[in-house]
Symmetry: C2
Subunit: 251 residues, 2 copies
């Protein structure tokens, strides 16, 4: 996919959240929204998210479906020290590569843990698939990894965020998707047809309409215009604003 | 899938979140966690979640992948009055059925809106695929729908929640997944190997380990045991507690 205005190819991504606790509702995911906003800000288009349980077959199938389709796949969860943490082994299986204790990862773990504390459970966190680079984090030390186009991160938000900061400077990025929000001060249903006409007249942009409840005036709407090209963005914004003046004069 | 203890077949579900605004990070999803907890409470196992953009091909592919695999598919988002709301048409396409203005839906809309206010944009919300039942909501009136095993709901949390309340009494449910949480008062890495042994000895249960930071004692762990059979749950809980006493005595 190319952006016609900039000529830069779009860089795309998917997120795979791994964890029974998200699917049971016990833990409320905080990573999807964070990563989504982060990637948008650096010029990577998040195109799909999946959440799957801690089951090897499910993880392998999702990893292989997503890594072939997008520039990057970010995973969260399942890289801790307990038996239900099976992400590293599942990624190795998805790529068909061996997995074993990684000397670089063990060295990092030894900076934090004494030999007595570096038990079998903690050593599990140093199991890294063959050919992967480590992803560092300053919070808990235990590394994630980067294999092919798959970036494997922790599920704990503070650790995941540190890992994302570690990999971000190394990611390819495209032209940033720019956006501007226009507060309609009108109900979504009152402007729908006219907004559709504006969207049709501005094919280089994406125009979204998001209703919200405004304590002062009740049902209200935010219109969000998105484009990679600043001139297209500005033109569509003006067209939205003019449409709003016109429609509201007739209500 | 059968639960060996109860003999009741498991009832499964997936969620499909439809919306560019979730993928851009502009809107943080609040529906996945809510639906996950709700389904768990009524005895339906959420097995997968996907988030896709407002693009017909993506919605159709995800709907068809998920509806054939699980007992139910719940979708959120994309059923409002604006041009970017394409869920109803996409569902009709996924099922290969026609879609048109539905007299029942129009009647509901007329209860809320005068003829002057029921413009083309609002009428879009009465487009319902052939053969679907309506899903009512008391908040905004505009209905969702239920076609085959797919339940199509709004993205606005308050409206989605009202729709879920409308459909819940009509859903098949299985034996409830019971769960109990044991606070370890130990670091996850200190108990990992022993917890794995407990999990292996209790195959009728699922045991998850969730690290958290405790202001009083620092790194701590919640161990969550899940099972459909109360006796299996109780036995595994006792085994976890005994293991914790034993391991902590040796730390």
């Amino acid at each position: 996919m190319n952006d016609s205005a900039s000529g830069q190819p779009a860089v795309t991504a998917a997120i795979l959240v791994i964890g029974d606790e998200i699917l049971s509702g016990r833990t409320k995911d905080k990573n999807i929204g964070y990563i989504a906003e982060y990637l948008t800000a650096i010029g990577i288009d998040l195109k799909e998210v999946r959440v799957v349980p801690d089951e090897e077959d499910e993880i392998v199938a999702a990893v292989n479906a997503l890594r072939h389709r997008y520039t990057y796949l970010f995973t969260t969860g399942g890289i801790g020290p307990t038996h239900d943490d099976i992400t590293a082994d599942s990624i190795a299986k998805a790529f068909g590569v061996p997995i074993d204790y990684d000397p670089r990862a063990l060295a990092i773990m030894r900076e934090r843990f004494s030999e007595a504390d570096l038990n079998e459970a903690r050593k599990r966190m140093a199991r890294i698939p063959d050919g992967a680079d480590l992803v560092l984090n300053k919070v808990s030390k235990a590394p994630g990894f980067w294999l092919g186009n798959v970036i494997v991160m922790a599920g704990v938000p503070a650790i995941m965020q540190a890992m994302l900061d570690d990999v971000a400077p190394k990611l390819k990025t495209g032209a940033k998707m720019l956006s501007v929000s226009v507060r309609a001060d009108a109900r979504e249903g009152d402007i729908g047809s006219e907004l559709a006409a504006v969207a049709k007249a501005h094919p280089g942009t994406t125009i979204g309409s998001y209703p919200f409840f405004d304590d002062a005036r009740g049902p209200n709407t935010n219109i969000v215009v998105r484009a990679r090209d600043p001139a297209s963005l500005a033109a569509a914004k003006v067209a939205v604003e003019e449409m709003l003046v016109r429609v509201k004069a007739n209500l």
